[in-house]
């Protein structure tokens, strides 16, 4: 937001800016410290850490045992593989459906638009509830298949409204001239609309991606084979339900002395989070641009 200002700053401005900078620095610290803590803890010595798990600035003792043990378990790897499969299959479906829906809702002079809009919006606030939804997924034969984690969330109405807003912001003349050239709507969507709202698409990708990344509940309902669980459920088993699925992978005599269940938690957090945090700065520029253009205007 390079806003051209008059050169002179008043004292008020300076005070304001200093306070603002301090607030931002505090915010940055509060955001980073918990992550830093986890990294330190994961390299710590188990016994020393548990004796005193309060504020830490550097690893207590140093040990790589947590990582050694966490990587050994097959479920960590299969969990990773599953979430990657889910993302790879879901995201294209998500985007195409959202784009279609957004395009339709943004179009004018379609006779059935209003009822269809109502039909779509209604689902945003009214749902069948937990048990009927579960029964539905089973009756569709999706049980114990990754499809059960992909299809029910194939499109979010909320996101398609974002998409609609982005499309509405494009000038009408674009489509009109395309029609003149004999293009149909499908051509317009993929040739004209899609490239133009690319930044919004990037944002939607992130919304959907993060949604898949956060969700653990459906897998706990629909999956019965451990090897089909996504990584979040493995993390939940280790981190929250305190199931020591990773614990038994200790293999040497010294491993047996220490109880690693607690410290493995930190290693699992690092292992599961670092890749995402590594990818994200590369995507950042797209989604910032995207939201700039796609900002909801109502």
């Amino acid at each position: 937001m390079a806003r051209s200002r008059l050169k002179k700053k008043t004292i008020g401005d300076i005070i304001f800016e200093s306070i603002n900078t301090i607030i931002m620095l505090i915010l940055v610290f509060l955001t980073l410290y918990p992550m830093y803590y986890v990294v330190c803890a994961s390299f710590s010595n188990n016994v020393e850490l548990l004796a005193n798990p309060g504020v830490i600035w550097y690893p207590r003792g140093f040990s790589l045992n947590a990582y050694r043990l966490a990587f050994r378990h097959p479920l960590v790897l299969s969990g990773y593989r599953n979430i990657l499969i889910i993302m790879a299959v879901s995201l294209p479906i998500n985007i195409v459906m959202t784009l279609f829906c957004g395009y339709f809702l943004a179009s004018k002079n379609v006779f059935f638009k209003k009822p269809i809009l109502a039909f779509i919006m209604f689902t945003m606030f009214f749902s069948g509830g937990m048990i009927p939804t579960y029964l539905n997924v089973r009756s569709l034969g999706l049980y114990d298949s990754l499809w059960a984690l992909i299809l029910p969330g194939a499109m979010s109405v909320y996101n398609s409204i974002i998409c609609k807003t982005a499309i509405e912001a494009l000038p009408d003349s674009l489509a009109e001239s395309a029609y003149m050239d004999g293009a149909n709507d499908l051509v317009i969507i993929f040739r004209i609309v899609f490239p133009l709202i690319m930044p919004t698409i990037a944002v939607l990708l992130l919304y959907y991606g993060v949604g898949h990344w956060n969700s653990w509940f459906p897998a706990s309902l629909y999956i019965k084979d451990n090897y089909k669980l996504p990584i979040q459920n493995i993390m939940r088993a280790v981190l929250i339900a305190n199931s020591n699925i990773l614990n038994a992978t200790a293999t040497t005599e010294t491993d047996k002395i220490d109880q690693f269940a607690e410290i493995i938690k930190y290693a699992v957090i690092v292992i599961s989070t670092v890749p995402v945090l590594c990818i994200y700065p590369f995507l950042q520029k797209y989604f910032i641009k995207g939201i700039m253009i796609g900002a909801i205007k109502g």
Binding site: S78, Y143, S220, N226, N242, A248, E262
Partner: protein
């Protein structure tokens, strides 16, 4: 205006379309499932027809590898934590080999609650052939609803070993059938009777007691003193795996019969009562509250599980605790290998200052879980399924369920006793884990748990601890207990569903709030009145009836 009317019409027609869509897709899926089940049942029938006619049981392993049984297990002999699927698990894949039937095992996934998995399985009406879960109380209803099969007429023929076993003891036989005399499942029994039903109790750091010149605490006042002394000297607090303590804990010392979990008991007059509605229970909670307030009770105790308690024990932040034989074995071996000098020993259950000890955690040696055959198991497979289940109660199967394969995981030593081979004793995951990998009876299963297994699995000190928890108190370990074997009628079972779930949440919530002091004891009478309002009297009445019927069986 016209347009408005039109769009309303359109919305309506869309709904009709939707409903039509539903019903058509419903029918198609129904047909779909029907046809698949048909084919599923048909194919085995074809092969089975010859087979059933030709199938004559000649011993294990049976020659029935082409028969596939699905077996869902909700707790007890679920997958050991180091395996992700049953194919990897030596106990589960081994059982298939030993009985000669292809068993497809199903378990709740990692981190998933057993009850959740069970209810979802029922909700969707896709049943395995066999499942193991706590269904004894509701057996009549499940038979009536067509979920599980009544096995009465087949029992002597297809499960001779099991039938013979339950006939050998009146209480076994009584517990394994319904009020109307139906046999329907294969339960869990402890060879020792009740000894291992008292598998948990108080433990203490003997070295600290010695250092401070204290006697082993016997009464609640002694506990007070020891806790305070440990706290002052070592900064230690009272902590324990919460889920172990929740059922009854040390309620006996207060004349109470339960701790946090909804707990029914039989009073001295043979009447069914709710532990948490008694004045004695209030005193128990008041004591825990006092310990909580003074910081003697660990503030994290409610989130403490076996692992956390074990780490705390190793780190010397706990001196008096409540845990199980198996965990005590772990604590001792941790202390030895880390060289902390901690000396954990079992401790007698505390008594009230006037010598009160109303009850001790325990039972009749019959578990809550039971393996039942569902209606999904077709007649052709019934005999084979029953033979598979019967295996655990044969001499050979009994050894397999407890110790694994002879010559692989164990063999007889010179005294003719079972002794583990190096495969188990030298297992890198440690003896406890190793035993659990090869055994189906460590916690519970549809089998008879061998006492020998417990002696092999636990340290000498733990066995001594259990002796201390059980023998002096034998009289009060089981007689207060509403036995697992009671059954409810279909109507009772339906009625209780709603009542009990509401009351039990209410009770355990109040209990923790009494302990943390969120809830004042002044309101105890209101709390009891609220229980009555929620239908407690009706619950007691139903259970009383069921109990009386059980006694009359």
């Amino acid at each position: 205006m016209a347009k408005r009317v039109l769009s309303i019409l359109l919305v309506l027609s869309l709904f009709v379309f939707v409903l039509a869509g539903c019903s058509t897709s419903k029918t198609t899926t129904d047909e779909g499932t029907d046809s698949t089940t048909d084919t599923q049942t048909d194919t085995p029938t074809d092969t089975d027809d010859e087979e059933t006619e030709g199938f004559a049981f000649t011993g294990y392993p049976m020659d029935a590898k082409d028969v596939k049984l699905t077996w869902w297990v909700g707790h007890g002999f679920t997958l050991h934590e180091s395996y992700a699927s049953y194919e990897e698990s030596p106990f589960h894949s081994g059982l298939s080999e030993h009985v000669g039937v292809d068993i497809e095992w199903q378990f709740p996934t990692a981190g998933t609650d057993g009850a959740q998995a069970f209810n979802l399985m029922l909700a969707s009406d896709t049943l395995p052939d066999i499942f193991y879960w706590n269904v004894m109380r509701d057996a009549e209803r499940y038979i009536d609803e067509g979920v599980i099969r009544d096995l009465t007429e087949y029992m002597p023929k297809y499960s001779p070993a099991y039938y013979k076993f339950i006939q050998s003891n009146e209480i076994y036989d009584k517990s394994m059938k319904t009020d109307s005399g139906k046999y329907y499942g294969y339960g869990f029994f402890r060879e020792d009777g009740g000894w291992n039903d008292t598998y948990q109790g108080p433990v203490v750091r003997q070295d600290w007691l010695d250092e401070l010149g204290l006697e082993s605490p016997e009464t609640i006042s002694d506990w007070d003193n020891v806790l305070r002394a440990f706290n002052e000297k070592y900064g230690a607090v009272l902590t324990f795996p919460w889920y172990r303590f929740k059922s009854t804990g040390i309620s006996g010392a207060f004349g109470a019969y339960g701790a946090i979990d909804f707990q029914l008991y039989i009073d001295d007059n043979g009447k069914v009562q709710l532990a948490q509605a008694q004045e004695e229970w209030k005193n128990y909670m008041a004591k825990l509250n006092e310990w909580w307030k003074t910081g003697l009770l660990d503030q994290d105790v409610m989130t403490t599980d076996d692992d956390i308690a074990r780490t705390k024990a190793l780190n010397g932040v706990v001196g008096l605790s409540y845990t199980s034989m198996g965990q005590l074995t772990n604590w001792i071996s941790d202390a030895n290998s880390a060289g902390t000098g901690a000396k954990w020993v079992g401790l007698q259950y505390p008594k009230g200052d006037d010598g009160t000890l109303s009850m001790v955690f325990g039972g009749y040696g019959i578990g809550e879980g039971i393996s039942v055959i569902t209606t999904s198991c077709p007649d052709e497979k019934l005999e084979i399924a029953m033979r598979v289940l019967d295996y655990a109660y044969t001499d050979e199967g009994h050894l397999y369920w407890n110790f694994g394969t002879k010559g692989v995981t164990w063999d007889y030593d010179e005294n003719g006793e079972v002794a583990y081979t190096e495969l188990v004793t030298e297992d890198p995951d440690g003896l406890n884990n190793a035993i659990a990998k090869y055994s189906g009876s460590v916690w519970s299963g549809s089998c008879i748990q061998a006492t020998k297994l417990l002696y092999l699995k636990n340290s000498e000190e733990s066995i001594k601890a259990n002796d201390l928890w059980f023998y002096p108190n034998e009289e009060v370990t089981a007689k207060w207990k509403l036995t697992n074997g009671i059954t409810l009628t279909v109507e009772e079972s339906n009625e209780l569903d709603d009542l009990v779930s509401a009351i039990s949440t209410y009770v355990s919530e109040k209990a923790v709030n009494y302990i943390t002091g969120e809830e004042s004891f002044d309101g105890f009478n209101d709390y009891v009145a609220q229980l009555d309002k929620m239908g407690l009297q009706r619950v007691l009445e139903i259970y009383q009836g069921a109990y009386d019927r059980f006694m009359a069986r």
